[in-house]
Amino acid sequence: MNKTHGLMFAGVGGQGALLIAELTSLAAVQEGYDVKQTEVHGVSQRGGSVETHVRFSRFAKVRSPIVTPGEADVVIGLEKLEALRFAHFVQPETGVILVNDYEIIPGSVTDAEKLYPHETIEFLRSKNLRVMALPASQIAKTLGDGRMANVVLLGALSTLLPFQPATWQKTLSFRLPSKYLEANQRAFEAGRKAI
């Protein structure tokens, strides 16, 4: 197929959206795709919104590294508010919004708790979008470290992408520090099964 695939990873600075975007890109490279990825660095690291775009294509060259609103195969939300903020990137008929059922209330906004869109998942479903929600942070916590929620979500994402399981394993092995590899492999498998 001549299609350029698009993925949008959205989260809060420090959640590791960039890492799982990179793992996905590297898996795509292993599979022989042309790949581009882009994100914006800088002050976004200080607890602000973070967005990372990944595009890959089998036969044609990937041109723009930026995903266009309305064309993403999957929007991956590491947090509910950020999933909602970037939901419009999803292809409305065929795309999937994969969301961690988890809230991070913005620290520097007044009345943040009240203004927070707690009903995000229900709201997106009511718009006839395909939403896959999983408690990735909870799953990661039971595995021993809530910070691995990103890799749990990556495991879930892997079921939606056309890459071989062996490719994912290989990518995790060479990219992650050996000290954390085993725990992350468990998180990845837990995410695969959670869908």
């Binding site: 042309d34 660095h41 607890g47 723009s64 508010l81 913005p106 520097s108 203004l115």
Partner: protein, 580 residues
């Protein structure tokens, strides 16, 4: 197997492959990763962080006329700082290849302005190469170094945020050691105005030669098509054009100064309408119009502000095949970035807010002090501007003005204005936030950190001694987490008739050696807590509220900065270990 590299990593790779032997720069988004990559992967290129961009440029200039290949890196506004040297270097010309990377930031993702540095290059008679993807980031860096030697001219490699911060596949090679070029100490070439007049015509001759080269330069590539529409484009915008208008004829300009008049005229003659798609200002467009070409449309359609994108081009061209996104239809709350948990700037901005002073700020993480909850930074312009601005506000008759500057920014360009304030008998209260790092760009070391780019120990600049040597008599250094001390020192400085400096000291919480310290978090003893809410007013993101109104400290986030414990009257906030 190609490598999957960031544009900035590809530039670093290209510099290494081309045999660069000296690299200098000052951290600035989106250019920082070039030197960081060289430090990590290619230290034989001798990378370093300089005190500021002007120093970086001049060091590079010296190495290049001395015969070696050089890369100098900075963000767009950094070139303003280096402009003095940048404007004059082409008169002498270079011996070894010299490339300055100007990383522009359309969209102002992390900058104080949008600035198209192609104009600076034109003013400075310096040729520009502009890559369009990660592969070209490597290739053009290498080509620019070659061409620099061929034409004895410094070159600019112009990137933008999207280019610098996107990853793509890059075919790489090995390092080729370039031979050292000859240097003769020659006043006629490198010295005084009387000799410069003789060099002036040479600069024009070189631009003529470069213009001729530009006509056949392989980076200026024509992709003709049977179509009434042609597009002239450069940089990452080329990718958007290929995506959105795959059937149009394209002239991709990889060399954007000097521009090729004949190539441009011929291309435009080939098409009914020619779009000019360039991010930033109408640099190419103005030149094409100056050739008398009339069938072009550029900024009137695509605009000068912000980043371009495929969506923006489709909208401007009113293309029917645009994806149709669903609309959330509600305004979402923002998630602005904020100072880190336990950041030493927090106590200072709490004090500034409490004292109701006018704050002239500077460039660094502390610009976040302008946002809620502190809202205590009232001006931010450019590197080092806090001091001059504060002096000026005082001279304009405003009372209780405080200048706030970080250690790295102070070293970068805060020293001359402080000398000036003492010399001219001004009244000034200056806070130096000394966290021993260039924090906002990722905690790079600076001369106040006592270590160099490789992490090796070096002389640690003594900021108190520097201030005293300039003639500042009142210098007060305070632990930045002691809130009462900060307020006391600030009040004393504000009452002082003259120049007073308060150094608020404490390391950046993002430095690896600080971040990975094992620290005992604080916790709340609900038996002792009176729910007075004083701890909520230190605005620490790690302090949450339980349903029955008690404060709760998230142990995994707490960095034991002690500030909440300092405000707790009943002493209910204690170290977790002590409380257990």
């Amino acid at each position: 197997m190609p490598e999957f590299l960031l544009g900035n990593e590809a530039i670093a790779r290209g510099a290494w492959e081309a045999g660069v032997k000296f690299v200098s720069g000052y951290p600035g988004t989106p250019s920082t990763e070039i030197i960081e990559t060289l430090v990590k992967r290619f230290p034989e290129t001798n990378p370093r962080w300089a005190a500021n961009e002007k120093v970086a440029f001049e060091e590079g200039m010296g190495v290049a006329i001395g015969g070696l290949r050089v890369l100098v890196t900075m963000k767009h506004v950094g070139l303003n700082v280096a402009a003095d040297a940048f404007m004059v270097f082409p008169y002498a010309g270079t011996n070894g290849g010299f490339v300055v990377v100007s990383a522009d930031d359309p969209g102002m993702h992390s900058s104080q302005n949008e600035q198209d540095n192609r104009y600076l290059a034109r003013m400075g008679k310096t040729p520009i190469l502009e890559p369009s993807d990660a592969q070209e980031c490597r290739d053009f860096t290498m080509a620019a170094l070659e061409l620099s030697e061929q034409f004895s001219s410094p070159f600019m490699l112009r990137t933008t945020t999207r280019l610098a911060h996107h990853k793509g596949l890059v075919e790489v090679g090995e390092r080729n050691e370039a031979s050292q070029k000859e240097f003769t100490a020659d006043p006629k070439r490198f010295s005084v105005p009387i000799y410069r007049r003789a060099l002036r015509p040479k600069v024009e001759c070189r631009i003529e030669a470069l213009t001729a080269y530009s006509e056949t330069c392989p980076f200026n590539r024509v992709e003709h098509a049977e179509n009434p529409i042609g597009v002239i484009t450069s940089g990452v915008a080329y990718q958007y054009v290929k995506e959105v208008m795959p059937a149009a004829g394209v002239l991709r300009l990889g060399m954007t100064f000097p521009l090729p008049p004949n190539l441009l005229r011929d291309f435009c003659a080939h098409y009914q309408t020619v779009y000019i798609v360039e991010e930033g200002e109408p640099f190419i467009e103005e030149y094409v119009l100056s050739l008398g070409v009339t069938n072009v449309v550029g900024k009137a359609l695509f605009g000068v502000m912000d980043e371009y994108s495929p969506a923006r081009l489709r909208q401007a061209l009113n293309l029917a095949d645009a994806p149709k996104p669903f609309s959330v239809g509600v305004n979402l709350m923002q998630r602005p970035p904020m100072m880190c948990v336990g950041c030493g700037h927090r106590t200072v901005f709490a004090a500034l807010r409490q004292l109701k002073v006018i704050v002239a700020g500077d460039i660094g993480c502390y610009t976040l002090g302008a946002l809620p909850p502190y809202e205590a930074e009232h001006t931010t312009f450019c590197m080092g501007a806090s001091i001059g601005t504060a002096v000026g506000l005082e001279r304009a008759g405003h009372k209780r003005v405080v200048a706030v500057i970080g250690d790295s920014t102070f070293i970068h360009s805060g020293i001359p204005p402080l000398i000036d304030a003492v010399y001219n008998g001004d009244r000034l209260t200056l806070i130096i936030l000394d966290n021993s790092a260039t924090g906002m760009t990722g905690g790079q070391p600076n001369p106040a950190a006592g270590k160099n780019v490789l992490g090796e120990a070096t002389h640690k600049l003594n900021l108190e001694a520097v201030c005293r040597a300039m003639g500042v008599e009142k210098v007060d250094a305070v632990d930045t987490w002691r809130r009462k001390e900060i307020v006391r020192a600030l009040n004393a400085a504000l009452a002082y008739e003259g120049v007073a400096v308060v150094i608020a000291r404490g390391p950046c919480q993002q430095l690896p050696e600080i971040k990975h310290q094992n620290r005992i978090p604080f916790t709340v003893d609900n038996e002792l807590c009176t729910r007075c809410e004083a701890c909520f007013k230190v605005w620490c993101p790690a302090i949450k509220k339980t349903e029955d109104g008690f404060p709760f400290i998230v142990a995994a986030e707490c960095v034991s900065c002690t500030v909440c414990a300092q405000v707790c009257q009943p002493d209910a906030i204690r170290l977790l270990e002590v409380a257990a």
